[in-house]
């Protein structure tokens, strides 16, 4: 672990998650990000995400025509908006502002009305259209009489269906009251800065996973936090600022940064 992530870890240890005025934020340094996608893979592993579901994702923009093209890669996740329209419009308060300013989701009160998906301007809410890991019920073997079916593996492992631990049980997510070790159909889900890890003073998995240390995480209300240092140093930006959602995820050092005038390949003004 590098000294920078060690210092983020140390900061987290001194931050009380449900302490008053704690405002957890992430800054993504676009010049450090190489677009490797390790964050997305780490997130999927951490949260047992099935194929097609990504709490951590990316926006890709290409402009111009060859040979004058630009390619921008922007990692995305739930912005944990301070003024979160998803929570505002949730009829059952399943989505709500929780500790550390995180937009939390309570699986048990979500009715699957999907109005949060309509209200989030960033497409950051995902619906579990079916049980996330239906393959664990499959009786089909890849090679007949050669390999075991998923169901057979589950049975052999002695996993009891109707109690706590189906095969895709993830004990990591059990730490917090607001997360579930198993995920089920008919409700929505989203990133919550890996609150189960934060409870154990661990950084969100995407932050830990990033090989370029492009993700900086900490308390925005702590004047000495690295997050504040970075935000003060650069000119931060948020996605869709005009939506007025006050995102807690900021971006610094836009990769294109005006180095070239779009479409011309010529050095732009200010270089």
């Amino acid at each position: 672990m590098s000294s920078e992530s060690e210092s983020l870890d140390a900061e987290l240890e001194t931050t009380t998650l449900d302490g008053e005025g704690v405002d957890l934020s992430m800054v993504i340094d676009l010049q450090r990000c190489t677009g490797c996608g390790a964050c997305n893979i780490g997130c999927a592993q951490e949260n047992n995400l099935q194929e097609g579901m990504a709490y951590s994702s990316r926006i890709i923009e290409t402009n111009g025509e060859f040979p004058n093209v630009s390619y921008e890669y922007t990692p995305t996740l739930c912005n944990q908006c301070d003024d979160a329209p998803c929570a505002e419009g949730c009829p059952t308060s399943a989505l709500h502002k929780g500790k550390g300013g995180i937009t939390m989701h309570d699986h048990e009160t979500c009715i699957g009305c999907k109005s949060c998906m309509i209200n989030c301007p960033y497409d950051e809410i995902h619906l579990n259209e079916e049980d996330p890991h239906p393959t664990w019920e499959s009786e089909e073997a890849t090679i007949e009489s050669g390999t075991a079916s998923a169901r057979a593996v589950k049975d052999r492992a002695g996993v009891d269906d109707d109690v706590d631990a189906p095969a895709y049980y993830n004990p990591n997510r059990e730490v917090s009251e607001t997360e579930h070790p198993t995920r089920y159909k008919g409700i929505v889900e989203k990133c919550n800065f890996c609150v189960h890890r934060l409870e154990r003073d661990e950084l969100p998995r995407c932050v830990e996973e990033c090989p370029c240390e492009a993700r900086i995480f900490g308390d925005r209300n702590d004047p000495d936090s690295t997050v504040n240092e970075v935000l003060a140093k650069y000119n931060p930006d948020v996605l869709k600022a005009d939506e007025g959602t006050e995102p807690s995820v900021n971006y610094v050092r836009d990769y294109n940064g005006g180095s070239y005038e779009r479409g011309t390949g010529e050095p732009g003004l200010g270089d």
Partner: protein, 415 residues
């Protein structure tokens, strides 16, 4: 009064011809198809629906909006004119109107429940974990109050011989204010979605309420005209004048109003500087959806009925029936156009999503649930007309006129 004293359901069934049984079989088939849709969604999950992460609201939501606003529109546009504002010419429509409002509300409720991811916990979660900042929560509360007021209004007309005028009026006023507020909050669900400018912000509530009245007038008109053909009792209380002058003209004006607000909405959208808004309108009007959104939603559903009602020669009983049915078909389609329009432009260029346009096509399960909504509507109305005398006039303390002697004057001030 209900039919219980004279005619029972059984006897009404016995006296009915083959066509009636065919109608019942048709409804039964609708329930079978609908039952399949509901069950398969419950068992498999919403993966059997055509909705996606980018288009999470599809035909089930639009069908709910269609039914809920039919209910709203009948109450605001027809029944309250008599029960609150004392316009006697609408009296023959009140009892049938209240029943229609109730059952359209029920049909809408059933359709939206079937499309929820967790329908079983919906009501308890709304009660135990309410969110008063959410328009959806208020809409449920207001439509529940409205449903209660409709039941009370119906009971007062059907069961109580001389209901105290004050009580009747209070109930009628609640049954007017609650649906206005409920319809407005339904609009606010869409309007507050700032990420989706197609819904029109504050304008969404106004737009939906105006269209609600047109669709409500169309439904009660269509049902009343058909009933007049089927039953001499209805023919006795509902004069041809009421149909062709009052309701026909009312429908024409309401349709014109919808045409105007729809036109304004699209004109504003197409010329908007907000690129996402302009693209959404272009896509809905000139993309693949244009054929039905413009062709049926605006042409067949608004223009044709408007012309039919504007020309005196076509404002006959048959013409009014045709116009009201066309308005209903158009409105059903327009609800889908409205709901989808807000989602057609992709929000982000995430490579795992469709970009720039997000598509949607209803699945078999979704269509089956829609069929369930219509079967429920038809089934409940058929049961209602067998159980109750829907031609009964609302009566009150001072005015206990019997409907058999009362011949309403339809629209004498209209021409």
């Amino acid at each position: 009064m209900s039919h219980a004293e004279g005619e029972t359901v059984v006897s009404s069934l016995k006296s009915s011809g083959k066509r009636y049984y065919a109608w019942l079989a048709f409804i039964g088939l609708g329930f079978l198809i609908g039952g399949y849709g509901v069950l398969v969604t419950l068992i498999e999950g919403t993966s059997v629906l055509g909705i996606t992460g980018q288009v999470p609201w599809g035909i089930l939501i639009s069908t709910y909006v269609f039914f809920a606003l039919l209910s709203t529109g009948i109450c605001i546009g027809i029944t309250s004119l008599s029960s609150v504002f004392g316009m006697e010419r609408y009296e023959p429509l009140v009892k049938r109107g209240v029943l229609l409002s109730l059952i359209t509300l029920a049909a809408g409720g059933a359709v939206i429940m079937a499309g929820l991811g967790q329908p079983v916990r919906a009501i308890p979660a709304m009660v135990l974990s309410p969110n008063p900042s959410a328009p959806m929560w208020w809409m449920i509360v207001l439509y529940s109050v409205y449903g209660g007021a409709l039941v009370a209004e119906f009971v007062l007309i059907d069961r109580v011989d001389d209901p105290p005028r004050r009580l009747s009026r209070t109930v009628a006023v609640v049954a007017l204010i609650a649906p206005i507020l409920a319809g407005a909050t339904l609009g606010a669900i869409f309007g507050t979605a700032e990420a989706r400018p197609y819904y029109g912000g504050l304008f969404a509530s106004v737009f939906l309420l105006v269209t609600a009245v047109a669709s409500g007038v169309a439904l009660i008109t269509a049902v009343t005209v058909i009933e007049r053909k089927l039953s001499s009792a209805t023919e006795a209380v509902v004069s041809e004048e009421l149909i062709t002058r009052t309701l026909g003209k009312y429908l024409g004006v309401a349709t014109a109003a919808v045409f105007l607000v729809t036109g304004l909405r699209h004109a504003y959208g197409l010329t908007a500087t907000n690129e996402a808004l302009a693209t959404a309108h272009q896509q809905m009007l000139f993309g693949g959806t244009g054929l039905w959104a413009v062709g049926i939603g605006m042409g067949v559903g608004l223009l044709v009925p408007m012309v039919l009602m504007a020309v005196p020669r076509t404002r006959t009983v048959g013409g009014v029936l045709a116009a009201s049915v066309l308005v209903l078909v158009g409105m059903f389609v327009s609800r889908l156009e409205f709901v989808l329009g807000g989602q057609v432009v992709a929000l982000t260029n995430d490579p795992s999503n469709q970009f720039p346009i997000a598509s949607y096509a209803p699945s078999a399960a979704e269509l089956a649930i829609v069929v369930m909504g219509f079967a429920l509507f038809a089934g409940l109305y058929t049961a209602g007309r067998a159980l109750f005398d829907l031609d009964e006039l609302p009566h009150h303390e001072e005015d206990t006129m019997s409907h058999t002697t009362h011949v309403p004057d339809g629209g004498e001030t209209d021409e």
